[in-house]
């Protein structure tokens, strides 16, 4: 059965500035239930009606947060999640993706899963939407630039997809690649970055239950600026690890090159786990600003998912392997 994932570290809502499109607990449960129903239908082999969105959060009546929800972490507004983005394929300004990503053709879309696997396969996006258990996951998203959000994603665990293609014993890493199509992604013509965008995970990180491939947020199909139609979400790593608009997933034996690690290796390590004790030359990693709030809040080890993921790095020097 699908489940709603809550971060293990709770933040008292009293610390958080109320935001405009806040879901009341009740509405949120309704949404989760709707998502669960969709997922259950999908699990039974019933395809959910395509293009039928769940209730639009911004259309939901705005009511004050439930006072009983003291331990509940508040969501970043749908508007902020969809207008304040880093997606350099569309420009370097935070507003550029929302402005310029409309040209991106997300249908038809296929994802090639290949490399050190027994069952290489090219998936149509529709098969990924209907073929795997879709869940609601509420995750913190911590950008390396010192800001963060709380986002309700829809998606499915990457482990399901990887199991389906059967990685061989030699497969140690997973390499992800974003679409390269400069005519639709104008900033790909800028030569300052080694396009296409690439990211990578160690296989055990990729198989972890927190790691998902997302197809939607706030009950809506992903918008291009958020990485439509399929993106990675790895909530304990800095946001740039969560690669967007994926077209290739390759199982490999060696640690893959990643765009940011290639561009500035001393600043962006392969792991890039959220870690308040490993400073960055440009932004504070000790504290962060939650979008929608003034001021700063302390950054949590592994972005608050320490209980879940610290075991992946047991015995490793996290300062050397940043």
């Amino acid at each position: 059965m699908p489940k709603t994932y809550q971060p293990s570290e709770k933040i008292p809502s009293s610390e958080i500035t109320p935001e405009k499109h806040y879901y009341t607990r009740r509405q949120f449960i309704q949404l989760a239930a709707a998502a669960a129903t969709t997922a259950a239908l999908a699990a039974c082999g019933v395809r959910p009606p395509e293009g039928e969105p769940l209730p639009n959060p911004s259309a939901a009546p705005s009511t004050s947060p439930s006072p009983a929800g003291g331990s509940e972490e508040k969501l970043t507004s749908y508007e902020d999640v969809t207008t304040f983005n880093n997606f350099y394929e569309f420009g370097m300004d935070k507003g550029d993706p929302a402005k310029f990503a409309g040209k991106l053709q997300t249908s038809p879309w296929t994802v090639e899963v290949y490399g050190l696997v027994n069952q290489p396969r090219t998936f149509a996006i529709e098969d990924l939407l209907s073929g795997y258990t879709q869940e609601e996951r509420i995750y913190r998203m911590r950008c390396v630039e010192g800001w963060s959000m709380v986002i309700p994603w829809q998606g499915f665990t990457l482990s399901q997809l990887l199991k389906a293609v059967e990685p061989t014993a030699e497969a140690k890493y997973v390499r992800f690649e974003t679409l390269y199509r400069p005519e639709e992604m104008p900033f790909q013509s800028y030569k300052g970055f080694p396009w296409p965008y690439q990211e990578g995970l160690r296989l055990d990180e990729a198989m972890h239950d927190l790691t998902i491939l997302s197809t939607g947020l706030y009950g809506q199909t992903l918008l291009p600026q958020n990485g439509a139609p399929l993106r990675l979400v790895v909530p304990w790593k800095y946001g740039f690890k969560s690669i967007k608009s994926i077209v290739k997933i390759e199982l490999v034996a060696e640690r893959p090159a990643t765009l940011w690690n290639t561009t500035a290796p001393r600043e962006y390590g392969f792991y890039s786990n959220v870690n308040p004790d490993v400073p960055h030359p440009r932004w504070s990693q000790a504290s962060e600003r939650r979008i929608g709030e003034g001021g700063r809040r302390p950054t949590l080890m592994f972005n608050g998912y320490e209980k879940e993921v610290a075991g992946l790095y047991a015995g490793m020097d996290l300062r050397a392997n940043y």
């Binding site: 304040f84 561009t263 030359p281 440009r282 504070s284 003034g294 700063r296």
Partner: protein, 214 residues
């Protein structure tokens, strides 16, 4: 017709415009989802641009011979300082809310902050000695002190280059803004080199027709 009053008015209006727009956008809640960051970046950009424009006054005078350009140097430099002050105040007051336990470790770790603070310290010293009275009191030392503006400009370019997500030496990442600022600064400094300056002055003083060789 006397152009100076118009030139002066245009300089004041132009220099205050970024601040007014910033306040206007802040009041309308139109500063992106991360308003503190947007305000920090906009005030910083205004400081950089005004500093470069104030450094353009002398070359403009050299090229045109129009002395009023020199009279804009002081007010534009002071506006650059004003924006630097706003920029730093947003960082300390709005962003970090005077949390020195957070600010000081950042300052110790981050070279872009050290460069920025160095530039601010210079601009503060120059602003504090910009009065006609202090100018006279300092005598010949005043000019020497105020040559530090070149160091401040260099530090500001470093501050931007190190704060942006790119690397100027390898021409990778986000380098458009610092590269542009560096190019403008180098041109403005180049125009001050004595041989180039003499050439420009000579060009201006000699009407082109008389240059024809006999």
């Amino acid at each position: 017709m006397k152009a100076w009053p118009y030139l002066r008015a245009a300089a004041h209006v132009g220099a205050l415009l970024p601040l007014l727009l910033l306040i206007f956008d802040a009041l309308r809640d139109n500063l992106t989802a991360n308003p503190i960051q947007a305000a920090t970046q906009r005030s910083g950009t205004a400081a950089l641009v005004l500093l470069l424009i104030s450094l353009a006054c002398t070359p403009l005078y050299t090229i045109t011979g129009y002395a009023d350009f020199s009279r804009l140097r002081r007010p534009l430099g002071l506006y650059a300082f004003l924006y630097a002050l706003v920029h730093l105040s947003i960082f300390v007051v709005l962003d970090y809310a005077f949390a020195w336990d957070l600010i000081l470790p950042e300052l110790a770790q981050k070279r872009y902050l050290i460069a920025g603070l160095g530039a601010f310290a210079i601009l503060l010293a120059l602003a504090a000695t910009s009065f006609t009275l202090t100018m006279k009191a300092l005598g010949k030392h005043w000019k020497r002190l105020h040559r530090l503006v070149y160091a401040a400009a260099g530090l500001v370019v470093l501050h931007v280059a190190w704060a942006e997500k790119g690397n100027l030496s390898t021409l990778s990442g986000d380098i458009l803004k610092p590269a542009l600022a560096l190019a403008v600064l180098l041109v403005l400094l180049g125009l001050r080199l004595p041989p180039i300056r003499r050439r420009l002055t000579a060009l201006r003083r000699t009407p082109p027709r008389r240059v024809i060789r006999t």
